[in-house]
Amino acid sequence: MSRQIEESKRELSRVMELLKDEPRGLSITDISKLLNMNRNSVSKYLNMLLISGKVDMRSIGVAKVYFLSHRVPISAMLDYSSDAIVVLDEKQKIVQANDNFISFTGHNRNELIGLRIPESTLPVVTNPTVLKTINDLLRGEGEAKEIEWEDESGDFFYLVKLIPTVFDEGNPGVTIILEDVTEIRKALREKEVLIDEIHLRVRNNLQVISSLLNMQSQGIVDRQSKEALSEAQRRLSALALVHENLHYSSDQQHIKADEYVKRLAEDISSGLENDCSGIDVEINADLSLGIDLSIPFGMMVNELLTNSFKHAFPDRRGGVIALTLKKVTSVDYVMTFEDNGVGFPADFDRKNITTLGLSLVKNIAERQLSGSVDIIIGNGTKIIINFSEENN
């Protein structure tokens, strides 16, 4: 029996010696040939080495190839990490800490090992939320957790990862990984400041263009030319209003359609020469629109509203303009725009739109929003626009 064990030991070390010289690994057949050992024995010894963790196996195609395990001690792994890592036992005492954690705390290794975290004055890990999580994990409650930590001055940011750990003897512990995310957080903050700055510049530039158009129109006597400049200014204002609403929205990415239309209608009606006080605007558009849809939507609504306010109710007659916006699928919308005014002129040709306003509406819907415009001629004006935010 003991002779058999001796032989096994000897054969095991022969297999390991051979594998040591072949970092690319060997198959059972290779080993069998090189050691002049039968395949069954090779297979038996390899299984023993696999179970003890001294050998690893990898399948390459149909072949199975065996290697010596490349084992790195866990403490060496911890020191390779750029994060600060500390391991606590079930009494919340430090049993292991990597170099980064040690330099992070400013203590030396001897001071740290055996230190109980709750009684220590160590930074970050004694934060109440972190301490509570350590307790929860040691009691077996909850799973690995990430906590964001920020110092009071806002100068340092850490991502604290707490991982339940089990030691060899089966006792629970917790591994805490502190990832320094200061740089990325600061970069994000800078990005936000930059976005605000760009918003500001966009709106300031729109104001410069608006000012130029305004001043340009002052010297002009010709009514038609003056009106053309006013139209341009109105379009610019509708665009600026989208930017304004985007800026004031919580995420700076969406506008509320009904609020936008209401403001736009007020701006247009109060800016026109004709008296619009008897015209009511009913809006049914309780939807949020994304940044890509907001501008084309705003432009279309501006043209439709301007048209109705200017032409639908001549001689100060009152009336109603109604705009309804509905979402019919996750990407498709239907906007119905109506007024009970004088309607399109008798010679209006739906196929051949000549005014810039309606032409803008039609092209924005068709070319930019994969949509369609349906003009219904009857009493007053009714325009149904289908559009989609797909591909936007």
């Binding site: 709106r203 300031n204 000012s211 305004n214 610019l236 600026a240 800016g271």
Partner: protein, 128 residues
């Protein structure tokens, strides 16, 4: 509305020209157009305007709110802010100077008119 004497503090020349013309068209008198804090203070002392239209984002060490803050604390003068935007923090700062109103850029004539009218009635209330 009676004619007001107005100082414009705006560091963009084109925008300041436009505001000046609009204000004049509404029947008011522009007593000065300046782009910086020191010029604003000296013009205010010299001209004693009824109203100040103050851009918030000004170049230089003092922004519009800082200027307005000093005007409010030292002389009890309140301004109308003209701004391209205001974040909550900025709004909070601006509110402390008890402004007579806000005009959001791009400026709309009717809005300018409305804010000026409101400001004028508040000024005359205070005087009365």
């Amino acid at each position: 509305m009676k004619n007001l004497s107005i100082l414009i503090v705006e560091d963009d020349a084109i925008i300041s020209m436009d505001i000046e013309q609009r204000v004049q068209r509404l029947g008011h008198k522009v007593v000065g157009v300046v782009d910086r804090a020191d010029k604003a203070f000296s013009t205010i002392i010299k001209e004693k305007p009824d109203l100040i239209l103050m851009d918030i984002n000004l170049k230089g060490e003092m922004d519009g709110i800082s200027i307005a803050d000093r005007l409010y604390k030292d002389m009890g003068i309140r301004v109308i802010y003209i701004t391209a935007y205001s974040d909550p923090e900025m709004k909070e700062r601006a509110e402390k100077t008890d402004p007579l109103g806000y005009i959001i850029k791009p400026i709309r004539e009717n809005e300018l008119n409305r804010v000026l009218e409101e400001a004028e009635s508040r000024i005359s209330e205070n005087k009365g």
